[in-house]
């Protein structure tokens, strides 16, 4: 009898440990979901255009970080300070060449054309990445990649923890920009009512350009963090677009920290599903959440308007 109880408690303790470990891993990956979603949410909220190539832009940022490290041994966290601005410039170009023509259209044509352009861009970037960098999976492996922080039996990968903190810092900086600066406010005003913004003398086209470039930079930085903490390959784009989309629906539009919290929520839900349902259900849980939120609270958990 006594032996049975001991076994029982041992099992329970092991289970608790596994659960905690998984929750921590979920929290860490969730921060990156949040960062990816914040970029998509920014472009979607301001331009009313869903950029389905967001995940591919993330992939490009990941490769930039990877090659900067592999070829010149530039520390990945340091190189992100360059990858971000470079992706910002790429965003400027993509907007000027492709999306500028879409935002002029009325709502229906805007949605249709932006999807066409987005999927086209997805295919092009995907094919380019395979051509240039092969289909192999890559990851930045630094000298400190294996470092973990041990809390009793729980291990926290330091790199992923730093990525989470980095993601949070980027979002906090963006938040300050949107809340405090003249152009940040112009972006928020345009997101809420572009016609009223134009009546204030705000150049709406330029705010679109700025928002799109910022969204692209966020995608690139998220990609860099993915290549540091996890791995990248030319085909990861769609998966990340989907995650970002789920988070946006989960969290609602219009709040950066809402996106971040939504991302963490998705990460936690996924890790719980790994513990209780098994690994293969990981992807299903996100989609279930997606449907549930759409049914119960279509404006999202933190959104104010439907």
């Amino acid at each position: 009898m006594g032996k049975l109880f001991t076994t029982y408690y041992l099992l329970l303790a092991t289970f608790k440990m596994i659960l905690t470990q998984q929750l921590i891993l979920g929290l860490l990956v969730g921060g990156l979901y949040g960062l990816a979603a914040a970029g998509l949410s920014l472009t979607f909220g301001v331009l009313r255009v869903l950029n389905v190539a967001h995940g591919e832009l993330l992939m490009v940022g990941g490769y930039a970080t990877f090659w900067l490290f592999t070829l010149w041994e530039i520390d990945p966290f340091l190189s992100l300070l360059g990858v971000g601005p470079a992706m910002f410039v790429l965003g400027l170009l993509l907007y000027a060449v492709l999306f500028r023509f879409v935002v002029r259209a009325d709502e229906e044509a805007r949605i249709k054309n932006s999807l066409l352009i987005g999927f086209g861009l997805t295919l092009v970037l995907h094919a380019l990445a395979i051509q240039l960098w092969t289909a192999d999976e890559r990851a930045v492996t630094t000298a400190y990649s294996g470092a973990v922080l041990r809390l009793g039996p729980i291990a926290i990968p330091l790199l992923r923890l730093s990525s989470l903190l980095f993601a949070f810092a980027i979002l906090a900086a963006l938040h300050l920009f949107l809340a405090r600066t003249r152009w940040g406010r112009a972006i928020r005003a345009t997101a809420e009512d572009w016609e009223a913004a134009a009546l204030m003398g705000i150049p709406v086209g330029r705010t679109y350009l700025l928002a799109f470039a910022l969204g692209t930079a966020l995608a690139g930085i998220a990609g860099g963090l993915v290549s540091i903490s996890y791995s990248i390959s030319p085909s990861i784009g769609m998966e990340w677009t989907l995650k970002a989309l789920i988070v946006i629906v989960l969290a609602g539009l219009g709040s950066l920290f809402g996106s971040f919290a939504g991302g963490i929520l998705l990460g936690l839900a996924e890790s719980m599903s790994v513990v209780f349902l098994g690994g293969p259900y990981r992807e299903v849980v996100g989609l279930m959440l997606f449907l549930l939120v759409l049914l119960v609270r279509p404006q999202g958990l933190f959104g104010t308007r439907p």
Partner: protein
């Protein structure tokens, strides 16, 4: 200083304005009245640069602005207070006002102008940290007006400033408009409350079906039989 000549505006195939001509002189208060769907809002939006005309000319101080973007027109000193106020409701009162001074020209005078607006509307000062969406209807209209004034306009275009407001609030809005007028501001006002606006304005245009059907001194139009029957009688919308 504002001259509109033979203006035609269409939504896709549907012509909304069939050749409108009107003028607003410096310091003048002009009313624009007419039934729903007559094209009043369309006219204001076109002058403000939100709609592009099919044909015709809009001149401002002898400069043609018919093809100028809304953003540039604000720089010229024409501000539209749109129908339904269109505030940035998730932002604070203060942020709304500061956005009104977005243009380079207005940016320089921002601090001074903000003080002026706050003394004109003390309620806005009290509520400057509140979300614009949480204000009452009258306060929202004051904010919309204040936000437009932050851009240092010389001509104010107002679309239904009294819509949905309680009579007492309408009175205070109207008295502020007449105060602005006395300070030299030019105003072009679209208003359902025909009685009030004709009593205040110097001249008026009557717009029906996209055409100007009558024009003249506001006081004279108040006595006009057609105007009385259509807009001031017991069945008129403005009397509601």
């Amino acid at each position: 200083m504002l001259e509109v000549e033979n203006l035609r505006v269409a939504y896709r195939e549907l012509l909304a304005l069939h050749g409108i001509s009107l003028e607003v002189h410096p310091g003048e208060m002009v009313a624009l009245v007419g039934p729903n769907g007559a094209g009043k809002t369309t006219l204001l939006k076109t002058v403000a640069g939100l709609l592009a005309p099919r044909a015709g000319v809009i001149r401002w101080h002898d400069e043609t602005i018919s093809r100028t973007s809304a953003q540039r027109i604000v720089e010229h000193g024409i501000a539209l207070v749109p129908e339904g106020r269109r505030l940035f409701s998730d932002m604070t009162v203060r942020e709304n006002l500061e956005l009104g001074a977005f243009t380079r020209r207005a940016q320089k005078e921002k601090k001074l102008q903000l003080e002026k607006i706050y003394s004109l509307f003390p309620r806005l000062f009290e509520r400057q940290r509140q979300r614009a969406g949480s204000l009452s209807g009258g306060e929202q209209q004051m904010l919309a007006l204040g936000r437009a004034l932050m851009g240092l306009p010389r001509l104010l275009l107002l679309d239904e400033p009294s819509l949905g407001l309680a009579p007492r609030v309408v009175d205070s809005i109207m008295s502020i408009l007449s105060e602005l007028h006395h300070d030299g501001m030019s105003l072009l006002i679209v208003e359902q409350n025909v009685h009030a606006v004709l009593a205040l304005a110097q001249r008026a245009y009557i717009l029906e079906g996209g055409r100007i059907v009558s024009t003249g001194e506001a006081k004279r139009l108040l006595d006009d039989d057609h105007v009385r029957a259509a807009y001031l009688g017991p069945l008129a919308r403005g009397a509601e």
